[in-house]
Subunit: 277 residues, 4 copies
């Protein structure tokens, strides 16, 4: 099982999110929780937006916090939008091109879960990727193929619809092969402005997903937590598991739904796979 | 441009072939020549047969002789059949799954050259790979796709025919896309008993390929070279470039041909791509 | 905490010891136990004797069984004397030169434990290393410094005496700095023929250490275990923790003692640090 | 032979200095020149100042531009003070702790050259390092030992005097061992505000060192070069070799001298080793 977090808000040092729980919204439990996953992980990755047009990424196949370059980068880059992912391989090679978050142009994508029996359905799914996108597939994971299917179905124009169509196809192909529950997922994707998060599984028993309460609410409830004063009202975290122990800090994303963190009002909707044809 | 060597004969320490020119058929020029390539390389790999059913491989993305594990392995494994390859990337990621030699079951495969404009033809070629083999493709190179096409066309039963059919397809697909000279190649492949080597290019101007003279002939011509006394008569090297300066040691493989090193009489034949259908 | 195992006996594939519990003396619990440590580990290493004068080593800083080269090497090398070690860093860099087993000439050395407050005593201990050995120190760990102290005190001539003198010095230097319990250790060292194992700690509460019962005894008690028929009577394992669930298979090395596995009769003695001067 | 560059001036993307010659003061020849060194290199490193108290560093042992993390970091970090170094090992291990620039607190250090016969003098030099600094030595290179000697002799208070004393000691120790020319060096060091550069060798035949002409002068001479308009007048490069082909862009640092790039007037002085006691 993978783990991920997505942050959007006031610019922060990446290490504030990942490494320094006591100086961040993420309390000390982050360290042990993320730590536990990290040392179990088969690759780690971060993505961030900053001074360039496209996001930067850093992918590591060493146990994450043994990677001194990663620590130094996390300690020296500030960003208003950060993705981080810990991978637990379900079989494909542990190599940088298999580490999340994946990038295409201005977009980032990360996935916790699995396309079941991917070995059986890989060829048919990859064939459904738009031929113009196909040659850019670099790794060998189910998650990257899923990303390219979403791109094929219009991720850049309408992310929720594109993911619903990609999942519809994955379920159709999988069921044709006799796979009972073809997909299990939480997904985050972003264009550098908004962050979309998805929670779904064919068996309707999806991995957990949480988003943080608005900072202004938290600030009212916890005037003693200093870091909250430095964050804008709209700063938000979306995470696989609740972090820290601030009462009232976390809301669970309901089963089979998607949400978007954006300028103005955030939204939360039902997620319904759309089978092709 | 990549470089490779294939050795078949009396069991030798792998380092004798790669690192210790003065104790081997390969004279000191090997060191500098291979050395030059090595430091220019985008990955290095060896494959060998020995105590197990399938061959072992070691793939490195560090400059080859900086990799201490590789040096130690080469110094501690004896084998009667060794492949070694230095990669110069034509664009795809530098990662272990892109390093030659590639392995499938008992087979090894390595390639010097290029499928031109691979980005344009990759999808169509990969689609031609047998669906049962497709999920085992792990990397993103033209050379691995070429290997899987040869497997699809019967490499395990009739290697020359399979490679001729794979090249026929690559040329057909490439020309349909307006690519003038779709393929440039020297290839070596083995099942652990015989070694097949191929020299071909669409423009009939192929990279060089050489095989060593029989050891008994060399021994007669050079009674002063001690190591020759330790090698069996049938020990052979096939290489991208002649190694060492033993007069009479090397024979060029002619343009558009293939040869096989095997028990009994070696053979040399014309290579003729066979377009499908 | 690190873990290690030392094997001496009939030649086996290294993977039989590390990876294939059901085909080896090491039962399935090895996999999970070693596995758990592995993924928690900050480096992994093996050393083995075989075709060359000096032992081979392979050091990895990736989670051990993600390292495909390591798996391939373990599956393709047979050896009658194997050391394996999983490192848990107590602070020094995760790099190959800090991975056990360390090698000097024909000798291998591995250590589970710690020289406490090494940062405080490092300079004085390293100064005590023989000046002719000093420049060969390559890493930055307490364990490598300990090895070089033992070499300085005559490891190659009388291993138990040399280790007793090295520990005597470490305790003297540590106590002078106010360190209550300067050393905690299990150590294995070998010259490729005999294997010496040590269990000691300043507080006389040392980490566990076990050696396997003679194979002939085991064979009598467990006629149903096929692999036992393939091993010579004198094959032996020394391990940090008992492996497998064969009743009667393991003997604990007593507190403050050392043993040697050698041709002829094995021995077990008391371990007594010898302070210098 | 190593190569390095130091940049101080208007904030630039690190890739502008290293990767995009046509958009930078460094013209296209950089790419091929640095490229040539890079692929020959035994490690690469960058250091930069930015959002944190201490500088960030990134050290790579892969051929530099194969390292995708390094490319991404260089493309996403802007900095007013950047060090970059390509290492050619003279024997010590290729590992991240041996890559320049070295860091201590706010200081960075990089060295092109060699302490000759370092194996012979290493112990005596390392013993001269202040005991409080000694435990922080992490690698095994002459260059890092040289840095720690300079720190011992007061680098943080008076860099030129500290380097003169360190070199004085290195020459004294070396000559006592019969080494004719104990040191060859160009060195750059910085506290994040000023950059000191040194050119010296015992044989008075030092490796080359150049600093760039003031940007205002260049701008006058080359009004056609757009990027010059974006840089502040005081932006400066110090490099092992002249880069680009802008006439009038480079000044050679004279033999046996040191200079400082600082706010206000830069300076250039004679360098005179100071033997201890």
């Amino acid at each position: 099982m993978c783990r991920w977090l997505a942050y959007s808000g006031s610019p922060v040092l990446i290490e504030e999110l990942l490494l320094k729980p006591k100086h961040s919204l993420i309390d000390q439990s982050l360290h042990s929780q993320l730590g536990a996953e990290t040392t179990n992980g088969d690759g780690f990755g971060i993505g961030w937006y900053g001074v360039a047009e496209t996001p930067g990424t850093f992918h590591s196949i060493e146990p994450a916090w043994n990677d001194r370059n990663l620590r130094d980068v996390a300690a020296h880059i500030q960003s208003p939008l950060v993705f981080a992912h810990i991978r637990a391989s379900s079989g494909s090679a542990v190599q940088q091109t298999n580490c999340h978050p994946f990038r295409y142009g201005r977009w980032l994508w990360m996935h916790n879960g699995v396309i079941r029996d991917f070995h059986e359905v890989k060829r048919e799914l990859v064939l459904a990727v738009d031929p113009s996108l196909y040659p850019d597939l670099e790794g060998s994971t189910d998650s990257e193929a899923f990303f390219y299917l979403a791109l094929t179905f219009g991720l850049e124009d309408d992310p929720p619809a594109a993911v619903e169509r990609a999942v519809g196809l994955i379920e159709q192909v999988g069921r044709r092969q006799g796979i009972e529950h073809p997909i299990q997922m939480t997904v985050a994707t972003t264009d550098g402005r908004s962050v979309w998060a998805f929670r779904y599984s064919s068996e309707r028993d999806s991995r957990s997903l949480f988003y943080s309460t608005r900072v202004d609410t938290l600030r009212e409830q916890h005037p003693e937590v200093e870091v909250l004063r430095q964050l804008s009202d709209e700063s938000r975290l979306v995470v696989s598991e609740p972090l820290g122990d601030l009462a009232g800090a976390w809301n669970e994303v309901p089963e089979s739904s998607w949400g978007v963190i954006q300028e103005g009002q955030d939204e939360l909707h039902e997620f319904t796979p759309r089978p092709p044809g």
